[in-house]
Amino acid sequence: MIEPRWVCVLLISSALLFLGIFLVLPLIVVFSEAFKKGVEVYIESVREPDAAAAIRLTLIAAAIAVPLNLIFGVAAAWAIAKFQFPGKSFLITLIDLPFSVSPVISGLIFVLLFGLQGWLGPWLSEHDIKIIFAVPGIVLATIFVTFPFVARELIPLMQSQGSEEEEVARTLGAGGWQTLWRVTLPNVKWGLLYGVILCNARAMGEFGAVSVVSGHIRGATNTIPLHAEILYNEYNSTAAFAMASLLTILTLGTIALKALIDWKSQIDIREVSERVSTEG
């Protein structure tokens, strides 16, 4: 032991205190507030029609945004990591755009584009298409905000793997699709799954951008985070925290899945090395 005992105690306890205040305490608060008036009230506030509608909308938005961004992310990462073309660094910057722009601004962009006073507004209202203050707007905003997750996860992974395996596959007679399915995707499966989980968590939890385009119509255009805010502003804190607890469960589930993936990919590696030690 190099450091005196009191230094160790001070450092460890301050780290634990920090963790407690900023991570553990909020978790406890969320669940204790949600269950303050008992389990029945909790279940009632989740099953209430407006809450059920918010849950449904959140699931719909995620169910559309995540697969689209999965396809887009794989395509973008494949193009960027495996090919050279002019404008590549510009494309990377574009992919990062939703990370660097404030979510509220992202929401406003869609209002300015599709809103009644927006560029496409008159044409849309002529054809009776509603995007802003309706479900399509929420889906669009969610897609925009969760755009970079899968691509960002895959690009560095694919770049580090290089394109030699793909070149080999081509010289052995594999076509583009065969190369993608048999070589590229199996090599990045864990990174891909991780990207999808992060993308899903953000899609369900997004507040800012969705808030701007939603219009907060109860039972129609509220997602879980928006509904939680409304309830909270109405001093209905039990119902608000019940909504918040759903998102917290999602977060905990995401962390658990991530840990599972890390563990599983470690097992893959360990299995290989065990086989070496028993056979060789």
């Binding site: 395996e165 080999v168 010289t171 052995l172 076509g175 199996p186 090599n187 090395s273 056979e279």
Partner: protein, 363 residues
């Protein structure tokens, strides 16, 4: 199947990787593309494979006299072995070798039984049939190299191309594997081209050597031809250890220190300076000055560990000299460091430099 390379050029931005390269590989030959890094040898190999496309439309790659320039590499039936093997890391060795058969269009795809027989046959051929259910990360470098070869052979290629096949192996495995490749080629007789920057490797393994430098071919010939009759100063310098002396030309003579070398009359005209090459084993060390065909030098280092004794010397004019002598000669001379001795070239090659290039002197 023969491979004919006709007028191939390739430019990467401002860098000319290949400048109008032509040569022919005969059926069943094993040819080495030899050159320093940046000489364009790997680019040429990748163009033969169809992975890279040559510039312009006056160049062509003919495989068995059929123009393949317009054929994508999927349909060329070319086996390509990459420098770092590029085995599919998520597949077993068996699946790696089977890949080329599994991705065939459905009507051409062999049955599972045939695939199994064929893969096992190939694994036997590279003497690794006991490794089928392992993963690439569990294999040694030399084993991976042979699996990469088996995988390339699975599609029954008409020609086999290998990029620095022994480049990432350690010295011992390298030597074994290159002898193995030579025997392997003699059995299969498949037309093969391999890239290397190691002259020893090229001279030992190949039927013919193509020497490349700065995107051009310097010489094509059998190992014997290029070693004993190098076409120019570059080839002489690149093939094996050699002492190189720069010297001025004065009244038809080249001087190595005080030792004059007569130049033939046709070479002496308007020559500015000369390059004199002498291989280390063609230099003699003597205690006494016998006649004028030697120069003075001082011993700086002696390495007697090996079949020959390697002696480093330094001349009066500061040039380093590297000499190899037998152990008998070494003990009869009783050489020590700092000894003053005389060095006599038994054979030398002189190239004169003029305004418009370098000429070889015939003498």
């Amino acid at each position: 199947m023969s491979i004919e390379i006709r007028n191939i050029a390739k430019q990467f931005g401002d860098f000319a990787a290949l400048k109008d390269v032509s040569f022919k590989v005969e059926t069943g030959e094993l040819v080495a593309l030899l050159g320093p890094s940046g000489s364009g040898k790997t680019t040429l190999l990748r163009i033969i494979a169809g992975i890279e496309v040559p510039d312009g439309n006056h160049g062509a790659i003919l495989i068995h006299s059929a123009d393949t320039t317009a054929i994508g590499f999927r349909d060329r039936r070319v086996g390509f072995v990459f420098q770092h093997y590029a085995l599919f890391r998520h597949m077993t060795i068996f699946e790696n070798v089977a890949f080329g058969l599994r991705v065939r269009p459905r009507r051409l795809r062999p049955s599972e039984k045939v695939i199994k027989e064929k893969v096992n046959e190939l694994l036997k051929l590279v003497q690794l049939d006991w490794l089928g259910d392992r993963y690439p990360s569990q294999l040694s470098g030399g084993q991976r190299q042979r699996i990469a070869l088996a995988r390339a052979l699975a599609v029954e290629p008409s020609v086999l191309l290998l990029d620095e096949p022994f480049g990432s192996l350690d010295a011992q495995v390298r030597k074994e594997l290159r002898l193995w490749l030579r025997r392997f080629h003699d059995e299969l007789k498949i037309t093969s081209v391999f890239v290397t920057h190691d002259q020893e490797e090229a001279l030992e393994v190949a039927d013919r050597v193509v020497l490349m430098n700065e995107g051009r071919i310097e010489q094509v010939g059998t190992p014997d031809e290029v070693y004993h009759h190098p076409a120019n100063a570059f080839v002489y310098n690149f093939l094996g250890n050699v002492n190189l002396f720069h010297s001025r030309v004065d009244e038809g003579k080249v001087y190595l220190g005080e030792m004059p070398i007569d130049l033939p009359a046709e070479n002496a005209q308007d020559a500015n300076s000369a390059l004199v090459f002498v291989r280390p084993h063609l230099l003699e060390i003597e205690r006494q000055r016998n006649g004028g065909d030697n120069f003075r030098a001082k011993v700086t280092h002696i390495n007697a560990a090996g079949p020959l004794v390697k002696v480093d010397l330094s001349t009066d004019w500061g040039a380093p000299v590297h000499v190899e002598i037998s152990h008998e000669r070494y003990s009869s001379l009783g050489l020590k460091r700092e000894d003053e001795v005389f060095v006599r070239p038994r054979e030398r090659k002189v190239f004169v430099e003029r305004q418009n290039g370098i000429d070889e002197c015939r003498n």
